[in-house]
Symmetry: C2
Subunit: 210 residues, 2 copies
């Protein structure tokens, strides 16, 4: 029937199934058998395509970043004020997370499990200077120039990231606590693009006199 590219099909179905399973249970909670079942194939074929659990996990874990890193880079190495870049970031990250709301908790959990993997992965991908260093410098500059309110630049950045990501990382708790359905959560996060930026503007913009 559909054997034109059965290799690609099965390979991809396995990878997709692995992604769900690893996100559901983390590396420790994931089961190779469950992945095979979800992909509609058997364990033998699973190992025919992917050497072992580790390597399969590695692919899933890398994919979790692969998408967003270039986006981040283009935003923060581009032109624009702190507020403009912040808005671009919030918009881009929220868009991604609305699509893949389980990403943050997965990533944080796995970095906690093995911080070194993450460390090595990123000291390669990123050039010499520490990440965000340039942006933090820009924040400091605009503060000195009186364009935005003065505070610890790292904290401003932390606040923005926190407000953007935490609702997703804590989604299971949040939704149970407030009896919020998936749909409602999604809508709340969408309206958040605007309201969060308003909140941030009030927090750091210096009001013009008269």
């Amino acid at each position: 029937m559909d054997k034109k590219e059965p290799d690609i099909k099965s390979r991809d179905k396995i990878l997709a199934a692995a992604r769900s399973e690893f996100i559901r249970g983390g590396f420790n909670g994931a089961r190779m058998q469950s992945i095979a079942d979800a992909a509609g194939i058997n364990k033998a074929l699973l190992h025919y395509y992917y050497k072992n659990k580790e390597s399969l996990f590695e692919l899933v874990f890398n994919d979790a970043f692969a998408e967003f890193i270039p986006k981040l880079h283009s935003i923060f190495s581009g032109e624009g004020s702190v507020l403009e870049k912040t808005e671009q970031y919030v918009d881009a990250h929220l868009s991604l997370l609305i699509e893949k709301p389980d990403l943050p908790l997965f990533v944080l959990t796995e970095i906690h499990r093995d911080p070194e993997r993450f460390f090595e992965k990123f000291m390669n991908k990123l050039p010499g200077e520490p990440p965000f260093a340039r942006f933090l410098q820009q924040i400091a500059n605009e503060m000195r120039e009186g364009k935005i309110r003065t505070m610890n630049p790292r904290e401003l950045w932390m606040n923005v990231m926190s407000m953007t990501v935490f609702p997703f990382a804590s989604r299971p708790m949040l939704q149970r606590l407030t009896l919020m359905a998936d749909r409602e959560f999604q809508e709340l996060m969408t309206q958040r693009k605007k309201s969060m930026m308003q909140f941030i503007r009030y927090a750091i913009e210096i009001p013009v006199n008269n």
Copy 2:
């Protein structure tokens, strides 16, 4: 030698070891043998005191909340404006998290693994109305009265919680990314008690004219 209350000692040492181990690896990553080793006893004694892994985990998980729930309740059912309660909350929660920085990720991970346990646990502990309902109402009131800027009350609360908790949940990532030592992180979080509140005040306080 110290056999006066060896029972209590071992019991507690096991529980403490279990706490570390569960926080390190989550339920799935924790090993009963590791707990026994860390407690300086053997598996037989471990099961002599605690029925099984589940029950031991349950104790640790409950403890993770037990401390803070009453505090939360006293803050939000007490007197004070939104800003005052927010400040009390930020102060109390940051103090706790500086002591136990790994709590948030542990809690979030385990709620993600089994949301029902969390749900059942809290629909008991909390009286009829949904948690924070009263506080959200108070926020809405103060907004209507023009005491603070208008926005979705749930989002204001989300912003406060996010900024408070996320730095801890993302600590492993954050520290690697910024090459921050434990001590430095701790100091940053301490100074945050003030700076975060300043940030929030700017964001929601309505400036007085002239």
